[in-house]
């Protein structure tokens, strides 16, 4: 078995993994990226639409272009990137961390790492996850799989399409399939408001006159060998109105019904998972419950912009570097999600430092305030013109904000 040792091993070579590795290298550490695909870039490689990089590079790029900017830095810095390499196991062994992986070129390897960074991204929820009744014909795809087929493999998965869920990937695919010559008949959303960004509703649906059915549920998939249609049932006051159900004929169903962080490796390693995010529980340094193992990007929580992923990954890389140099926070204060907030991440603050927090709202509202409260007292209030669950919020909490907070204080973030 091949053996190697690096200061840090990054699992996953997408946007998060590359950004974390670049930061660690910049701070003088030896780093290896382990990537199971044949290329770096992760999901960005199939996201050929534009709109990436406005924050990070101050211009609008396509996914592959954004990935290439990072890969160029990875290459020019001489960071080791092992492709076609699947990680099997993360273990604590003899006071250090060992990552076991396998690849056609090297067979099984054991790589020792001072720090491990989890950057495995997320996975799409599928038909089984949302339990759509009906037969099991060909023609049911997750939107991201269809995106890969169309944009990289060069296959059009069908001609007459219904999209389930109004997440951004589904909306982007509505436009993509239309531009590829297909007819998109409808987008069906269970919630009373769209899950995706307004920009995508306008440019991916309204531009093409594609109807968006809000408060509707797909209650049946019909077809023998191939999808022949879906049954759609309206929801009124929380109840399915079966007498108002109608059928839409189609040969393809694309599912855009949410993403789940991909934490099989983390779970197997015994790392604590937060049920609100499906990602690891992390401290103020983005370190998981396994010492020396950090998490960033979509494996930690699902982001809506890759620019935020890169920012967070860079911070995880910096924290891992400090941890390797022996830094430990003297004290940490818990922060919890208050009114109208689904989660706050990380869940712990370092009162001696500036802390960047990300949080996701539970509500759609105009003109409200994002508040930081210490023991019930508002210490900071930021005006928000508009909030909605599909748009992540961010806040920087400073040492001054926490001046009055003790170890047992209740710190929370709420929308009022």
């Amino acid at each position: 078995m091949r053996q190697a040792r690096y200061d840090a091993v990054v699992i996953g070579g997408g946007a998060a993994g590359m950004a974390a590795a670049i930061e660690l290298n910049r701070r003088g550490h030896s780093v290896a990226i382990l990537e199971r695909e044949e290329t770096l870039g992760g999901i960005l490689m199939q996201c050929i639409h534009n709109g990436f990089g406005l924050i990070e590079f101050n211009e609008e790029l396509s996914g592959p272009e954004f990935a290439q900017r990072l890969e160029t830095q990875v290459r020019s810095r001489g960071i080791s990137a092992f492709l076609c390499t699947t990680v099997l196991d993360i273990r604590e062994e003899g006071g250090t961390r060992a990552v076991y992986c396998v690849s056609p070129a090297e067979g099984v390897s054991r790589i020792e790492a001072g720090a491990v960074l989890l950057a495995m991204g997320c996975r799409e929820r599928n038909r089984g996850n949302i339990r759509i009744p009906g037969t099991r014909p060909a023609g049911v795809y997750t939107a991201g799989l269809a995106q890969r087929l169309v944009n990289i493999e060069g296959y059009i998965p069908g001609k007459d399409v219904v999209i389930v869920g109004s997440g951004d990937i589904g909306l982007i695919m509505a436009r993509r399939m239309t531009w590829a010559g297909c007819k998109v008949h409808a987008v069906i959303e269970i919630l009373p408001y769209p899950s995706g960004l307004t920009r995508n509703i306008v440019q991916c649906l309204e531009d093409f006159g594609i109807p968006l059915y809000l408060s509707h549920l797909v209650t049946d998939i019909v077809g023998e060998d191939r999808v022949e249609g879906v049954e759609v049932t309206p929801i009124e006051q929380g109840a399915l109105m079966h007498d108002k159900a109608f059928r839409i004929l189609c040969d393809t169903v694309l599912l855009s019904v949410g993403l789940v962080p991909e934490n099989e490796l983390s779970r197997a390693a015994g790392i604590d998972i937060n049920p609100a995010t499906n990602g690891p529980v992390v401290d103020s340094m983005l370190m998981t419950s396994m010492p020396g193992v950090f998490a960033c990007g979509n494996v930690l929580h699902v982001h809506d912009l890759v620019d935020y992923v890169v920012e967070e990954a860079r911070r995880a890389g910096a924290a891992a570097s400090e941890w390797l140099a022996g830094y430990r926070p003297e004290a940490e204060i818990r922060v919890k999600a208050g009114a109208n907030i689904r989660y706050v991440l990380p869940g712990r603050l370092n009162p001696a430092r500036e802390n960047r927090l990300y949080m996701r709202p539970l509500i759609v509202r105009n003109d409200c305030r994002l508040e930081l409260k210490v023991d019930g007292k508002v210490v900071r209030s930021i005006r928000k013109a508009h909030v909605q669950p599909s748009e992540m919020l961010s806040m920087v909490v400073t040492q001054a904000d926490l001046a009055q907070a003790g170890r047992d204080s209740v710190v929370e973030i709420a929308l009022a």
């Binding site: 044949e38 290329t39 490689m45 050929i48 639409h49 534009n50 609008e60 790029l61 396509s62 592959p64 272009e65 290439q68 169309v150 944009n151 990289i152 493999e153 060069g154 531009w179 010559g181 960004l197 307004t198 920009r199 509703i201 306008v202 440019q203 309204e206 531009d207 105009n366 013109a385 508009h386 909605q388 748009e391």
Partner: protein, 145 residues
């Protein structure tokens, strides 16, 4: 013109268009009406809404992204089992006139891109005489990696 005045004007006009401003996440619902030399926008909470409406009505544009077929140096198209991309992603260098997008896609879908190719390489110069170029957005070497 007062707010009431604008609203009255809109009600009386047959060519009122409704749209959602996408300049920021607020998503104002705009009503726009165009007469010979006047342009009326209501529902916007800031000046950017008016600019957006004007652009959307008078000169709507979109960045177009698509793919073209990849061709290996020996003239072969990558096969399903080659494990390399069979399509090369491309985009317009600037937002492209909306009413000509289908024409542009029809052109791009007939095109083949010879590998190797570099991100930023020109695919179509001055597409359909618009002055806008189509560029490649992914680098692939001669073996398609």
């Amino acid at each position: 013109m007062s707010e009431r005045g604008v609203a009255d004007e809109l009600k009386s006009s047959p060519d009122v268009r409704r749209m959602i401003c996408i300049t920021c996440p607020l998503g104002c619902h705009l009503e726009v009406s165009v007469h010979d030399d006047t342009f009326l926008v209501s529902g916007n909470r800031c000046q950017r809404g008016e600019a957006y409406a004007r652009e959307e009505v008078l000169n709507p544009r979109r960045t177009v992204t698509a793919t073209c077929a990849a061709v290996l140096p020996d003239g072969r198209h990558p096969g399903p089992s080659d494990g390399i991309p069979r399509r090369v992603p491309v985009r317009t260098s600037q937002p492209f006139p909306r009413e000509r997008i289908q024409e542009l896609l029809d052109l791009l879908h007939t095109m083949e891109i010879q590998l190797p190719v570099k991100s930023g390489d020109m695919v179509v110069e001055n597409a359909l005489g618009t002055g806008i170029d189509v560029i490649c957005t992914r680098s692939l070497d001669a073996s398609g990696r």
